[in-house]
């Protein structure tokens, strides 16, 4: 097997400087074997280019061409915008009616505003630290009872865990809020109001803003 000259590839790719090119051509004249090797390599590269062209041709034939886009007439744009605006007005009106009804129905409000934490517990289900935090388990249990409509039992459990002082500050805020939701479900609106007034004394409470709004509506 012939050993290719190091400059053969550069010569065929036109990468030699003019002086290097002259020197290499002189060398080819003096060594017919080298000249033949260069000719063979040139033909080999031509064959590879054919391969590349075939592959590219196939790719381009399967490449979708983007046809020029037609710009819709202004008239039809106006119609689309009108329909969209009508939908927005309808949604806004429905939202207003729904919110007004919610304000009047404290039970429904409580149902919609119970703070869910079971997802949090589920993601930490394998955590052995949960064994230690039995209080939090009870806290979640209270929420399950709420969801099952057992408001009295839920309230009892919420108050129990609240009094244990084992809850984290975040869970304590949630418990405050959920206790109020239980009272609303049990139609103890006066009790709920008292608790809300107590809650808004703490401006750093997580449910400070919601509590103020709820108080205004009750």
């Amino acid at each position: 097997m012939e050993i290719p000259h190091p400059n053969t590839e550069k010569y065929l790719k036109n990468l030699l400087s003019p002086s290097e090119k002259i020197a290499f051509e002189k060398l080819m004249n003096e060594h017919p074997q080298l000249a033949e090797d260069v000719t063979n390599e040139k033909l080999a590269l031509e064959a590879i280019d054919l391969l590349i062209a075939d592959e590219l041709r196939a790719t381009l034939k399967n490449t979708p061409r983007e046809e020029p886009k037609l710009i819709p007439l202004k008239k039809s744009n106006f119609r689309k915008w009108s329909i969209a605006a009508s939908f927005l007005i309808l949604i806004a009106a429905a939202s207003y009616v729904f919110t007004s009804q919610q304000d009047l129905d404290s039970e429904q409000f409580a149902h919609n505003n119970i703070v869910l934490v079971e997802e949090d517990i589920a993601t930490r289900g394998d955590d052995s630290s949960l064994e230690i935090h039995a209080t939090r388990k009870e806290f979640v249990q209270a929420q399950l009872l709420f969801q099952q409509g057992k408001y009295q039992e839920a309230l009892k459990l919420y108050q129990s865990v609240y009094d244990s002082n084992d809850l984290s500050p975040e869970d304590k805020d949630i418990a405050d809020w959920n206790i109020i939701m239980c009272h609303l479900k049990l139609k103890s609106v006066a009790e709920a109001k008292t608790l809300l007034q107590e809650l808004i004394k703490d401006q750093n409470h997580y449910y400070f803003d919601q509590s103020r709004l709820l108080l205004d509506k009750l």
């Binding site: 097997m1 012939e2 790719k13 036109n14 990468l15 033949e36 090797d37 000719t39 063979n40 390599e41 033909l43 080999a44 590269l45 031509e46 064959a47 590879i48 280019d49 054919l50 391969l51 590349i52 062209a53 592959e55 590219l56 041709r57 790719t59 381009l60 034939k61 490449t63 061409r65 983007e66 020029p68």
Partner: protein
């Protein structure tokens, strides 16, 4: 990875870089609606149809790709170049199919660039010989040499072809190129 190119030099360097850079640059040229419309208009003015325009457009891009990769492209406007090649190739095709007496169509002759289409593309006989060389080379060697010619790195070639290392890819590339040169030595008398 760049898929929008601001100027011709960016396109040229992307094609020279090879790999995905080249693919994106070629796709960018291929989707140039303005130049394609010019080619289409030109070809439909000279007895061609939409499919002819599409075929010529692709062949022109292949010529551009080859010229850039082989350092034979001497700058200038890429789209002007591709349009010029398209005209030359279409002229050649008409000439071969005897659809038109070129001497009687000075307008078409005027539009042809200095590039001789015969020089741009190989004859069918030459293509047949080159394809025979490739067939005898085998599929693996074809893949290696294809990737090597497109400037893929040896490490990338090794990964793409499940070779143990970049050194193995280098060794295989050398063996395959030598094998193809041997084929060229044998077949060149038929050209």
């Amino acid at each position: 990875m760049k898929d929008i190119f601001q100027n011709d030099s960016e396109i040229v360097s992307a094609i020279k870089s090879g790999g995905l850079h080249r693919n994106n640059a070629i796709s960018f040229i291929y989707k140039n609606q303005k130049t394609f419309s010019r080619v289409k208009h030109f070809i439909s003015s000279w007895k061609g149809n939409s499919q002819d325009a599409e075929d010529i457009w692709i062949e022109s891009i292949l010529v551009l790709d080859r010229k850039i990769r082989n350092d034979e492209y001497d700058g200038g406007n890429i789209y002007g170049f591709v349009f010029g090649i398209s005209k030359g190739l279409w002229r050649n095709k008409l000439k071969k199919s005897n659809k038109m007496d070129l001497v009687e169509e000075p307008a078409l002759m005027d539009s042809v660039d200095e590039n001789d289409p015969e020089q741009l593309f190989q004859t069918n006989e030459r293509i047949a010989v080159l394809k025979k060389m490739l067939e005898e080379l085998g599929e693996e060697c074809q893949k290696i040499l294809n990737l090597w010619k497109l400037n893929y790195k040896m490490k990338e070639i090794a990964e793409m072809l499940n070779l143990s290392s970049d050194n193995m890819a280098k060794k295989k590339k050398h063996q395959c190129l030598q094998k193809l040169k041997e084929k060229a030595k044998f077949f060149k008398s038929q050209l």
